[in-house]
Symmetry: C2
Subunit: 340 residues, 2 copies
Amino acid sequence: VKEKVLGILKENSARYVSGEHISEALGVSRAAIWKHIKDLKKEGYVIIASSKKGYSLVSVPDVLNSYEIIYNLKTGIIGSNIIYREEIDSTNNYAKKIASEGCKDGTVVVAECQTAGRGRLGRMWDSARNKGIYMSIVLRPEVAPEDVQIITIAASIAVAEAIRDITGMEAAIKWPNDIILDGKKVCGILTEMSSEMEKVNFLVVGIGLNVNHSREDFPEELANTATSLRIYAEQNSTGTAPAELDFRLNRSSLVKAVLTEMENVYCMVNNGNTDEVVRQWKEYSVTLGKEVLITSKSAEYRGFAKDITKDGRLIVDCSDGVTREVMSGEVKVRGLLGYT
Amino acid sequence: VKEKVLGILKENSARYVSGEHISEALGVSRAAIWKHIKDLKKEGYVIIASSKKGYSLVSVPDVLNSYEIIYNLKTGIIGSNIIYREEIDSTNNYAKKIASEGCKDGTVVVAECQTAGRGRLGRMWDSARNKGIYMSIVLRPEVAPEDVQIITIAASIAVAEAIRDITGMEAAIKWPNDIILDGKKVCGILTEMSSEMEKVNFLVVGIGLNVNHSREDFPEELANTATSLRIYAEQNSTGTAPAELDFRLNRSSLVKAVLTEMENVYCMVNNGNTDEVVRQWKEYSVTLGKEVLITSKSAEYRGFAKDITKDGRLIVDCSDGVTREVMSGEVKVRGLLGYT
């Protein structure tokens, strides 16, 4: 009911709606309506009231709760079920848990804060409260286990595209799935899979996007390699900004954009249109044509990133004359993330 | 303590041990010893008592509890932790759960009965109570996600080898991981994986081995395709067997043999000695050199199975002149499992 009250207020944003109208529309008592309004105010919604005219929603807080995300979301699969937690150990862990219990394709887990956020290869992911977007999407794609790399590529396209949709900033992709802004990392994607040898049970695509972090929010060791949309906006604003402007972005709009773009690329993958996914990936790439350093368990190679294969492997002309297809391991790109 | 009481009785099998001796050895009261003996009797252990001489273990029931399996087990990794349940939905499900919570490499889950036993591709696995071996092994191997097929191959070798060790029966392997006896399936292996794109979190190798099933224990539709060690023994016994002989095998000895052989092949994999794994697999193969029918989502091919690649793909010379490497999908072998 709270969501429905909020829905009516939003439809009438900055206009008064009478308690009576809401009460009739939802078939709930006016006392119940008043209680929900009180709850919404506690969550940070600014709602003013007039005994004659009713309630008016004046401003929406920057929260990631499920009704802010669902409102006006037009996807069919991605986000058809949204689970919100103020705090969680790791959205990927929770998503894997509910996926193994059978949750549906496209279920999204989103949190304001992760206490044990993880990046690739067991690394920590800094998940400052209320600053970033920490979410995981459960997918049950029609691909074989050996072809799942395409999903990670698809997810990176969705994030880059969403950033461009909402902010116009030219986000780019470092192979396979880091989102880069100004040579620094603004978003990491951690894809995990549960599978049989021949069949994917489910994938969990974890997205950690730095949105409203200021420089001080990052630990010192990340100063040269990490950025946020807010930092980028501040650095690239021209002219004199009004003093009260703090360059914060609305995170739920960004989440909606990511889910919408994710739906597009996910449908492409499920329709077998992976060529188009790879084509789009190449457009966003800041890896192809660049000098790269590849570090694997057994060796280190330098070379030029030439292309990617249709299943997502990076093709590198190495300085020892051998052309290698890289599936995993560390790839550094000269000029990015502090590698000079 | 119950396990330790049993241990002492086993060391002195068919000889009397005084309650006083056990009590002193374990530092427990004689009343406590008596209680454990009572419990063991309830579980089916035949223990006789004499007020003068003490207790004597006369016979051990065919149960799969963890102390029967651990007793005299000499592995270092596989089975270092054994979890036994009388009934479980699926040993693979439980193993995946504890693996995601961090259980150690080589943990084994074993049950007398599965209420929702699963085979490959979501199929049911018939798990009649007390008849078969239903167990799952959690592995954390040093292999990349794209190379995990070798683990399934290794597991099938371990099972075939264990059957030969204990019974001398010439178990063979149908690609990739069915264990065949007399042209029928005696064991299925379901490997599931949790991974990042670049790193295996864990594997769960589920083993369903038909041991003491009689013909009547199988549903009619499996009559031509499934068998058990007991059925095979009965069919192949020569001369007149005593009337009371029912050809049952001791399942915990078989479990021990599987765990021991699994430890061998698992170490080979972790030491990078996959060539030897593939070599052994070929020795057990009933697929190579045979006519096969390959069914994938998109097409059907007939051909001859020529070889397997070092990462476990089946190489098939197809009747349309093309040589294909098969990673997954259905492979039927002429002459096996009712395919004529």
